[in-house]
């Protein structure tokens, strides 16, 4: 639940961390704009660094790696399309730059251009053996393509090359889970916990596995542990709160679910699923005004979500607003029908 978006932000954090080490290459240059760019980069002023590296390249087109440095600065600014432009200009002049190709593969991944990303990684791999980190991104490209067989293949190679790559193990666990390979998924998350015994994400996912195995008590314990472990973090995730609340709802413990789901909403105020689950919990606990507030919030965030309209319909019925209830039930049916029709009528031939 809500995992894919969080996964992707996780990728960014990791990649950006690695890029902090890149100015060493840039530092070999002596041009003044270039040198100032390096200084700005090291000072964390990436906007200034990007401008200075751009000027340096204009002054001596193609003779330095200023475009690569500019691209790295732009990655820090999450300006991936400009970064792609800089890298493509550099690669046009330096066809055999494995560094530029690997960086472009990553940037294209971040731009969600995953097929192009894979093509570029393939070219890069012809020049230099990929690292575990590179293969992790390749695996994630396949996750975005919904091709879990290939995602697992490359993530497995990533952890083979780099057995201490905690993120690669985590994403491998997620890929296994998506294919319902629960024992393999459990092993991957346990490896993450071997590498970092208080990794809340891995523990949260172990909870999901336990839930799938119809072990609700153990799943509840896992979610609670994950919540506990991320308590001191500046970036607490709503996921373990959402999963805990959801399971408590499943167990018909709506009263207990409310507190957990309130916390999930507090941490992810724009997450429609959190509002939906909290609204549902309020509805079951007969806290109708609060249910209405949360379900209407959810509907504002995801107006095309049939499940939200269904719960809204149930709520309006309960408060005797029958016209609104009828309208929401109709909307539910329309959206359900549309979802069913959204599958391609003619699947591609082999």
């Amino acid at each position: 639940m809500c995992e894919s978006s969080r996964d992707r932000s996780g990728i960014l954090c990791k990649a950006v961390m690695l890029l902090l080490f890149v100015p060493s290459i840039c530092a070999q240059q002596t041009d003044s704009d270039y040198a100032q760019g390096v200084a700005a980069f090291r000072a964390g002023d990436y906007a200034a660094a990007a401008d200075l590296f751009a000027k340096a390249d204009v002054a001596a087109p193609g003779t330095t790696d200023a475009l690569i440095c500019q691209a790295k600065s732009l990655i820090h600014l999450q300006n991936f399309s400009s970064s792609e432009g800089a890298l493509r200009r550099y690669i046009a002049l330096h066809l055999d730059s494995d560094e530029a190709l690997y960086l472009l593969g990553f940037v294209l991944h971040r731009e969600n251009k995953v097929r192009e990303s894979l093509e570029i990684y393939t070219k890069a791999a012809m020049l230099k053996t990929p690292t575990g980190e590179d293969l992790k991104i390749v695996g994630l490209d396949y996750v975005i393509l919904n091709d879990y067989a290939n995602a697992i293949k490359w993530l497995e190679k990533a952890v083979e090359l780099d057995p201490k790559n905690k993120d690669a193990w985590y994403y491998l666990g997620r890929a296994y889970y998506s294919r319902s390979l629960l024992p393999e998924s459990r092993r991957a998350f346990l490896t993450v916990l071997d590498l970092d015994p208080r990794d809340a994400r891995a523990e949260n996912n172990l909870g999901l596995i336990l839930e799938s195995e119809a072990k609700p008590d153990e799943a509840l314990e896992a979610y609670r542990k994950a919540i506990d472990w991320q308590a001191g973090s500046a970036h607490r995730s709503e996921q373990p709160y959402l999963n805990l609340g959801n399971l408590l709802l499943e167990l018909d413990r709506a009263g207990e679910a409310v507190a957990s789901l309130e916390k999930a909403v507090e941490l992810a105020v724009n997450n429609a699923s959190c509002h939906l689950k909290l609204g549902t919990a309020y509805l079951r606990a007969n806290r109708l005004p609060e249910a209405q507030r949360e379900l209407e919030n959810a509907e504002r965030l995801e107006p095309e979500n049939a499940a939200i309209h269904y719960q809204l319909a149930r709520l309006y019925k309960q408060v005797h607003q029958m016209d609104k209830a009828k309208s929401e039930f109709q909307r539910t049916e329309e959206l359900q029908s549309r979802a069913a029709r959204s599958r391609p009528p003619d699947p591609p031939q082999p």
Binding site: A149, R179, A214, T280, T332, P347
Partner: protein
Amino acid sequence: MKHSFGNLSKGGKAALLVFAVLCASVFLASGSSIGSPEQSQTTRAADSATPGRFVDVTQRLGIHFQHQASHTSRKYLPETMGSGVALFDYDNDGRLDIFIVNGAPLGDPTPKGAIPQKTGPKYWNRLYHQKTDGTFEDVTEKAGLQGTGYGMGVAVGDYDNDGYEDLYVTAYGGNKLYHNNGDGTFSDVTAKAGVGGSGWSTSAAWVDLDGDGFLDLVVLRYLEWDFDDIWCGEHKEGYRAYCHPDYFKPARPLVYHNNGDGTFTEVSEKLGLSKPAKGLGVALADYDHDGHIDLFFANDSMVEYLYHNKGDGSFEEVGLVSEVAVDIDGRTYAGMGVDFADYNNDGWPDIVVTDLANQRYALYQNNGDGTFTYVSTQSGLARMTLAHSGWGVRLFDFDNDGWKDLLIVQGHDLDTIELTNPNLRYREPMLLARNTGKGFVDVSQSSGEVFRQSWVARGLAIGDLDNDGRLDAVVTTNDGPAYVLHNETPSANHWLLLKLVGHKSNRDAIGASVKLVTASGPQFATVSTASSYLSSGDKRVHFGIGKENSAASIEILWPSGIVQTLKSISADQILQIDEPVAPANAKPAVK
């Protein structure tokens, strides 16, 4: 071979004797309402650990059926869906007979537009007649029931009220109505009756929709589908899979009004029953006690339909507003089998729907106000069904303790499921869930070897094959054998089996509501042969009554509106009850 069915118990022999004595008995009273909401203050035993005991007696009884699915490399969807089974007494000898539907050969590939046809005995549907010793003989040819097309389901009903049960067999490409001639033979009257239909029909139900005393016919259709060469699943060797129903458009059901002269008229639109559906299972009950029978359609991967009978000859689909169209989270699921029966003895019919793994079977408890509450979690059903795929399903009291239990036959629809979801299984054991009065408990593992066998099960029919008061089961499997499961649950609990005979109402009394009261509380049932998946069950109404050796009263609301009350009925008998002549002051019992 001289052999009684299973181990015909002392009680079984006694039951047959009592049946002979009492079949002419009719008790008449009037005035009592039926099915009023009444909480059961039961004293019935509710030991949650008590298992059942079902024994596979298929071979011993002489049933040698092998379903022909004709699986191809093209993964044509009909291959994985069949087939159904019926339990009915076609020759009125007091013993249930078995009819099983079969497939037909499919080309690999089969041309678009083709209607598969049976080409020989291996593809025939089969009728097995139960002999006096409890074993069965194959009388298919003599009866003329070999069939023609790629069969799916079967529905049993005496549509012409001549006292002999007729058969409607659904198929891909056109259905058949077989009139029972009363001499052990059947005649194909499809053309004259005008009920051949078209497309892909699945489950069907006989029910008198307009109260004219003749059974009408509701036929579900699954999808607008043809033999196109569509590849679904991963594009590698061995991974081609059956396509999800979302790839195809839903199909309108067929509803045939019985004109009373051997012909029928298609009236689905006129009756408001024409919403396109992906119908697989159908069941009926008067869920709101307005005196008119309602219908539930189990639809695959779209909203489920509850058709409320408005009482003016038309229906309104109210699934969503009644909260039975989706699960608790507003999600659709792959509805397949269904039963519509009062599992908690409060007088209001509840609904159970089977679906695919990771969806949990849906149990909707009737609130008594026209709405239902999804109680799969609270009842224990969600936890025991999360990883399973269910098809045929029935709520019935296997241990005669007064609570209707659940028997569900299982197996995934995708024969590739273990490649893509290794924690799921294509072949699965059945599920027997005992109703303790407070919820359901999975007692499968301790209820016999048959619950440890993994099948690709589809159809399920329930009935008392040996008239011993313990309900037996017949299960069909896709491309596999059928299984006859004899209920040998050790129990001293008492029971009653009621055979209702309509006179003003349709002769099968389908749609009649029955309320039985003992010192332990009331129980309720609806007379129907429809429910489960593609299958047709024993029309007799069964009640387990625990330690009570008699029922204080039995009230029947006949489809005609006549209310009949019987008092002080001894337990452990098969009792024929004839519909009385309407008393002068009799009125339909409308809530």
